[in-house]
């Protein structure tokens, strides 16, 4: 069949002798949504970066529209009509939304008949239109820095779909999105598909795969395992092909006794983005936090932890008022905070896995107050194993890990200190099904040991699967609590729109 839009033939790629793609072939039909799945570190992003000319393959060909092409850099790929939404967001934070949307494809107009100048008005207008398409209503002149991760993700989506393309690669576009945005995205994808545009869709959310894709390819350890139509395929089957083992129970929720109140927030406020948030948290409890994008969930967590300076309210630990104005005080009192944005606030990207894992509780790895290399190595190895972080060496720079593996490091660094209260903001962002299971199991174990967990998540199934109670935020306020026994999707969604 020669009517494939894209053929990646026999792609092989090694990084310093470490083979991450081994003779991978992927064929994409025109006007189809082609899902690409695989565990963290399987090589999905790398394959797509080769398509975009960001990496060059050690072997293999790229055939587009029946013609073998050489793609030496992103420019060529873009010119060939291949767009990509990158997994690791790459906005230019100090520039405006419009400037980001039009980066590299600036609109120009004639000025004085000789100069071509940027047509700011037109770009602002078109950017606003593109944003409106995905349900964002920001001024195009707003700075990217002022957006939340999810909003930036939506801008990236708007950017990719507003451009002329015959193929759009979407590398985990929904990892930071709630269902509402995901629905908007899917509508767009369907519209594009109907116009004959092909989509390569990478995600760890398998429900999405069955919902949106026509074909699915499974990558494992850098090898292409299988490509097949999505229709009729069972989720369990995909998982077993991806992970190499059966997985039936997705949410290993453990019933543990709920103990006394460990943590309490009363009337927390920060600017007008967090208003009068109060709740309590008991030992053994997993408190889920739900809300729409921009509801102020992340900011509430940051205010609790002292990352943002609260301007109202207090926190209580074991019934006593705790002076937590900055993160160091929170950490000293046994709190941990896995932040939403691993790149900006979670990881030291230029440092090794080992140094990241030991970075919070460094004192635990000292002997006679000096850093003990052996202890550090042991801790690093322990978490690399426990969370299945895929890497050749504990000394590897975190920057060079796959997105999901980076997220695991961001989690590991907080687990290393055995904290009492763990705040997790989108903890499983970008993590594959298998590893998610491990992380849920870990949460259960923490709860069983009398710890308390706050889990902010945009994935409703995850919240409903793991939480004992869900706090819903809407428009910067608490709009309600739902007990596990009363969990029901409509009810929670309803509260989000208060």
């Amino acid at each position: 069949m020669a009517d494939y839009l894209l053929e990646l033939q026999g792609i092989t790629k090694s990084f310093s002798g470490n083979r991450v793609l081994d003779d991978v072939t992927l064929r994409v039909l025109p006007g189809k949504v082609h899902a690409l799945i695989g565990e963290n570190g399987a090589g999905k992003s790398t394959l797509m970066k080769i398509l975009m000319g960001i990496y060059s393959a050690n072997a293999g060909n790229i055939v587009l529209d029946g013609q073998q092409v050489h793609i030496g850099g992103p420019r060529q790929a873009l010119d060939l009509g291949v767009q990509m939404i990158h997994q690791e967001l790459s906005p230019v934070l100090d520039m405006t939304i419009a400037e980001n949307v039009f980066a590299g494809v600036e609109e120009t107009k004639k000025c004085l008949g000789i100069f071509r100048i940027v047509d700011r008005k037109r770009m602002d207008k078109e950017a606003a239109d593109a944003l409106a398409q995905v349900g964002l209503h920001f001024a195009p002149a707003k700075r990217m820095r002022e957006l939340s991760i999810a909003q930036m993700q939506m801008v990236e989506i708007a950017k990719a779909i507003s451009r002329k393309a015959k193929l759009i690669v979407m590398d985990e576009p929904t990892s930071a999105l709630t269902e509402k945005e995901t629905d908007i995205l899917f509508d767009k994808i369907r519209a594009l598909r109907d116009k004959g545009v092909s989509i390569i869709y990478i995600s760890h959310k398998l429900e999405e795969i069955s919902e949106i894709s026509d074909m699915v390819s499974i990558l494992r350890d850098g090898r292409m395992i299988e490509t097949r139509p999505t229709k009729g395929v069972r989720r369990e089957y995909l998982i077993s092909r991806m992970v190499g083992r059966e997985l039936t129970n997705f949410y290993p929720k453990r019933e543990v006794p709920i103990g006394e109140v460990l943590f309490e927030a009363r009337g927390i406020g920060w600017k007008n983005r967090v208003k009068d948030v109060s709740f309590s948290l008991r030992r053994g409890e997993i408190l889920g936090v739900a809300g729409l994008v921009g509801a102020g969930r992340s900011e509430t967590m940051s205010a609790l932890f002292g990352v943002l300076r609260r301007d109202a309210g207090d926190v209580y630990l074991n019934g006593r008022k705790a002076d937590i104005k900055k993160p160091s005080q929170a950490v000293a009192r046994g709190m941990a905070y896995i932040t939403e944005d691993r790149k900006a606030t979670g990881l030291n990207l230029i440092a090794s896995i080992k140094h990241n894992i030991t970075s919070v509780y460094l004192r635990l790895f000292t002997r006679r107050r000096l850093i003990n290399e052996k202890n550090e190595q042991n801790a690093a190895d322990k978490y690399i194993q426990m969370l299945k972080i895929r890497t050749e060496s504990r000394e590897k720079r975190v920057q060079l890990l796959s997105g999901g593996n980076q997220q695991k490091v961001a989690i590991a660094k907080w687990l290393a200190g055995d904290p009492d209260i763990v705040i997790m903001d989108e903890p499983t962002r970008g993590i594959d099904v298998g590893s998610k299971y491990d992380i849920y199991a870990l949460m259960g174990e923490l709860a069983a040991r009398g710890k308390a967990i706050i889990m902010v998540s945009s994935e409703m199934p995850e919240l409903m699967g793991m939480a004992d109670r869900i706090m819903v935020l809407a428009d910067s306020r608490v709009s309600g609590f739902v007990e596990r026994k009363d969990f029901n999707q409509e009810k929670i969604l309803g509260l989000q729109f208060v």
Binding site: R75, D94, G104
Partner: protein, 316 residues
């Protein structure tokens, strides 16, 4: 509401301008000689050389780079221009030679930084030495004089009676770069590359070429500055320009540029350079003893930027 926000935000951008105006106000009160028109012209004249360098430096810094070699380029191109501007040689020859030298030097810097991936600090420190050495060798270590009257006129002439051409060149260059940075696609790309080089690359921007080009710009402008300085001082000396790179960096940083790139407006380069020369000029006119000038300059520099940083933060 929206209008108001825009209003405030543009005010915020101009905190340093306000500080500059306050400085001018205070100095005018303290000394009538300061407030004379021809002193203001003087100040612009005095700013021109550093100001031109600051424009080039600004472009480099916007991409997250650094150029320590511009002072040496001023020295070399000045010497060469002086050697060629003797007797009846048409002045276009020294002019083009000086600019050409700047361009070649900039190309060298740009290639080493951008294509060979050597850190900008090392590259430009190396070429600073190298180019200074060339200036010494070419001039035999001596200042070159005997520059022709015509050449002297390049920077020396006034137009409209009072306005020195030197100032005109400076303002034209600032205007040109205001245009380039604000209005052209290339200008946008400079900001994108400095803001996030990786993002720029995946957006299809040729990051290497943009980086190369800003060193070219810095070099060309340094060549022009050297040529103008030779005309202004009617001589070219191989030691001229040492330390100018730091003044240029100081100007743009005071003007609100971030050394990590991507942040800075064209008028920041202008205002920053003016702040420095108003301060020098004012303190000289007031007759402040030179040792105390160091103290005062240090304090005002830090103080002004502090107010600027605070002021911007407040208005957010």
């Amino acid at each position: 509401m929206k209008k108001n926000a825009v209003h405030l935000s543009s005010l915020r951008e101009f905190v340093m301008l306000i500080i500059l105006l306050i400085m001018v106000g205070i100095l005018s009160l303290l000394s009538p000689a300061f407030a004379r028109l021809n002193n203001f012209i003087n100040i612009f004249k005095q700013t021109a050389i550093n100001g031109i360098l600051a424009v080039g430096m600004g472009c480099v810094i916007l991409t997250g780079g650094f150029d320590l070699s511009v002072g040496s380029i001023v020295g070399l191109s000045g010497v060469v221009a002086a050697l060629l501007a003797q007797g009846n040689t048409p002045i276009i020859i020294p002019i083009l030679s000086a600019i050409g030298i700047g361009g070649v030097a900039g190309l060298l810097n740009g290639t080493l930084v951008s294509y060979l991936g050597i850190p900008a600090f090392v590259v430009t420190l190396g070429t600073q030495n190298f180019i200074r050495g060339l200036a010494y060798i070419i001039s035999g270590g001596r200042p070159v004089f005997g520059v022709s009257r015509a050449y002297e006129q390049i920077a020396g002439m006034n137009i409209f009676g009072q306005v020195p051409l030197l100032v005109v060149y400076y303002l034209v260059i600032v205007a040109a770069f205001a245009f380039i940075l604000q209005k052209t696609v290339y200008g946008r790309h400079i900001y994108l590359v400095g803001g996030n080089a990786e993002a720029a690359r995946v957006s299809g921007i040729n990051v290497k070429d943009v980086k190369l080009s800003v060193y070219m710009i810095a070099g060309l402008l340094a060549g022009i500055a050297g040529m103008l300085l030779t005309s202004r001082t009617v001589s070219g000396s191989p030691i001229t320009g040492s330390g100018y790179e730091l003044d240029a960096i100081a100007a743009v940083v005071i003007g609100g540029f971030s050394l990590s790139g991507g942040v800075g407006k064209w008028y920041g380069m202008l205002i920053g350079a003016l702040v420095l020369s108003v301060l020098s000029n004012g303190l000289d006119i007031l007759g402040v003893a030179s040792y105390y000038q160091y103290l005062i300059k240090g304090i005002i520099m830090v103080g002004a930027v502090y107010i600027d940083v605070r002021g911007r933060a407040r208005m957010q």
